[in-house]
């Protein structure tokens, strides 16, 4: 059973008041049955059924059910529930790991994979909140920190534009490099490092360096989520030394990394999709779930139920013309 939706309460002992609800339901059912027993006998019902319109009973039951629902909601509100709310993060460090292996020259993503990735990364960096640190790491056989964490967007754009193709792909190694880069992030006013996140864009198999799973475990240990983007189509290919090499993205590898670190795995096959993925990642990175008292919300639910119940009761009480 999953009780994620169920709020935690500041004053859970007040929930005992909910015991009234089953008592009221039992009393209602008992009274309804009793009323059924004490109906009036009448002989000429054949005519009666034709002459007198049928009175629907659902409004009575609706009024009772909604009143009880209002009661439940208000009891919850009284017990001061805590809900999870997404709150924008004050500051964060985002390490952008961009694949620059030879496979990125494939043209299945127009104009080339690398150019499209650069364009999307530029837009992503530009859209990040200004107080966020950005770091750029190039992913090849020899991953490098191209830009240590900084809030300077001009440097970030230059670093992205300066990426050039290199040989080989070391996914695991690049995560280590990204983790090291996070350590360079400037401390905040309370001398704690800003929470970090790694955005890893890769389009091919891991060909060098330490195992990605090991790197993912390390990231998990440092509490850094890795958001992965499997980039490119399955039909992508590059011509190297006159030989045609297929370069499909390794989706399972990237999904495993994301799951192991508490991040999310995405895949993109075009510039548009890549932009969308970056948008998703931005909202994921930019917000943090926070516990907050949601008494007003539950009181609002109670009010809504009570209003509908009151309407039903009013419609029962009045005689419509």
């Amino acid at each position: 059973m999953n009780f994620d939706w169920f709020p935690t309460f500041i004053a859970p002992e007040r929930l005992w008041v909910l015991l009234v609800v089953p008592l009221m339901i039992a009393a209602y059912i008992y009274l309804v049955l009793r009323k059924k027993k004490t109906g009036m006998r009448f002989t000429n019902t054949a005519i009666l059924s034709r002459v007198v319109p049928k009175q629907s009973q659902w409004r009575r039951h609706l009024a009772v059910a909604l009143s009880l629902a209002a009661l439940v909601a208000l009891s919850f509100a009284w017990a001061r529930p805590n809900g999870i709310e997404m709150v924008p993060r004050e500051r964060a460090t985002v390490v952008l790991v961009i694949d620059i292996s030879q496979s990125m020259q494939a043209t299945d993503v127009k104009p080339t994979r690398l150019d499209a990735a650069k364009e999307a990364a530029l837009a992503f960096v530009k859209a990040l909140p200004a107080q966020y640190n950005v770091s750029i790491v190039s992913l090849s056989g020899n991953p490098n920190v191209r830009l240590p964490p900084t809030v300077d967007r001009v440097q970030a754009q230059q670093a992205i534009n300066g990426l050039k193709l290199q040989d080989s792909t070391a996914v695991g190694e690049s995560i280590y490099v990204a983790l090291n880069s996070l350590l360079l992030a400037p401390k905040g006013t309370d001398s704690t490092p800003a929470p970090g996140a790694i955005v890893l864009l890769s389009d091919g198999q891991n060909t060098a360096g330490r195992a990605p799973s090991q790197a993912a475990a390390e990231a998990k240990k440092q509490n850094v989520p890795v958001y992965t983007i499997a980039y490119g189509t399955d039909n992508g290919h590059v011509d190297l030394d006159g030989k045609r090499e297929p370069v499909p993205p390794d989706r399972t590898l990237l999904t495993n990394i994301a799951q192991a670190t508490g991040g999310q795995a995405f895949s993109a096959e075009s510039l548009d999709q890549l932009n969308k993925v970056y948008n998703n990642i931005r909202s994921e990175v930019g917000q943090t779930p926070t516990k907050k008292e949601t008494t007003a919300l539950w009181a609002g639910y109670g009010l809504a139920f009570a209003v509908v119940a009151a309407l039903a009761a009013v419609s029962l009480g009045t005689r419509w013309p």
């Binding site: 009448f42 000429n44 019902t45 054949a46 005689r319």
Partner: protein, 349 residues
């Protein structure tokens, strides 16, 4: 210390009103209140149809025999006919001796069919409809206590028809009435093969001797909501068959609140016979008016159907004095009976 006399009011008697909530447990009227026997002695129920009893009675029979009414004249048969019966006027005109026959005077045999289906166990005034029906049987029974007249009863329950053989004399009539009153109340929703139509058919088939037939019912067919008098109710055809050879009196028992729908607020209404269950807002004036109009039309249909079947029709209400109503009926009946009970073509009167 002397014992204080009890000034407490007598226990409240709700009478038949409780039948609105649940089926009554026993009869709502004692035997001695059914009919004032002495007061009824001076009234006589007009019998217009000829009878075929086998005893000497006070009513006109069907066949020749010793009696007071003159019949045809026929030739005198020496040795067979009484000389004192010779009709001298006819003998003089024809020069042949003629005797004047008489029609035998016979006793009357009355059979009463009492409908005791659950819808009869209902009444909002002093008595339930069933007990009013028994009172009507008692009243008409005492009216027809001439020499040798016999009175029998059929009790129509949904599951069976009980037959109490016809016997003469007031003691036997009291016995019949007591048995009708102590007849177990039919519980609600009892199912069975007998409806009013089947009961009437059964009476027409088993009681063959000509006489008077009493059908006591509310003439409501469960589930029949027809109001058009041109549509025959289910029981009209057996009723007409019964009226071919018999003088039929239909006693329709109704309650005041069957005719005037009561204003008792918003409540569940159940039928004692069908599965009908519905919340009805009886305080709705327009609905009550419609209901009253429909009931009036329904009663009119019953009246027309009974008239069409050739039966005399008495309507008794639980809130009225049935002895008074029956006495009024009997007085008017003296003039109308011979017209009411015209037999169909080809059937002897």
């Amino acid at each position: 210390m002397s014992v204080q006399p009890g000034f407490a009011p007598p226990p409240e008697e709700f009478g038949a009103v409780e039948s609105v909530l649940h089926e009554p447990r026993a009869a709502t009227i004692p035997l001695h209140k059914l009919a004032p026997e002495a007061a009824l002695r001076r009234l006589e129920l007009t019998v217009v149809r000829r009878l075929e009893g086998f005893l000497h009675g006070d009513h006109q029979g069907l066949l020749p025999g010793p009696g007071s009414e003159a019949n045809d004249a026929r030739m005198y048969v020496p040795g067979q006919d009484d000389v004192r019966k010779i009709d001298w006027a006819v003998t003089a005109r024809t020069t042949v001796p003629y005797v004047r026959d008489t029609i035998a005077d016979r006793e009357l045999e009355i059979w009463a069919l009492l409908d005791v289906t659950p819808s009869m166990n209902w009444g909002t005034e002093g008595v339930t409809k069933r007990d009013l029906g028994i009172a009507a049987i008692a009243t008409i029974g005492f009216l027809s206590q001439r020499m040798g007249d016999r009175f029998g009863g059929l009790v129509m329950r949904p599951d069976q028809i009980k037959r109490y053989p016809a016997q003469s004399g007031r003691t036997a009539l009291y016995g019949l009435l007591r048995r009708l009153l102590t007849e177990p109340i039919v519980s609600d929703h009892t199912t069975g093969p007998y409806s009013l139509a089947a009961g009437i058919q059964r009476m027409a088939r088993t009681e063959r001797r000509r006489g008077m037939r009493l059908v006591v019912s509310d003439f409501l067919t469960p589930g029949d909501f027809e109001l058009d008098p041109n549509v025959e109710p289910e029981w009209e055809r057996p009723m007409r068959q019964l009226a071919v050879r018999n003088q039929v009196l239909a006693v329709e028992v109704v309650d005041r609140h069957e005719i005037e729908f009561a204003d008792v607020g918003d409540l569940l209404i159940r039928d004692p016979e069908t599965n009908f269950e519905r919340y009805v807002n009886t305080s709705d004036d327009a609905a009550r008016e419609r209901m009253d109009a429909a009931t009036a039309a329904q009663r009119e249909r019953i009246r027309i159907a009974l008239r069409r079947a050739g039966a005399a029709h008495i309507q008794l209400r639980t809130d009225r004095d049935w002895v008074h109503d029956i006495a009024r009926f009997v007085l008017a009946y003296r003039r109308t009976a011979s017209m009411l009970h015209q037999p169909p073509a080809g059937v002897t009167k």
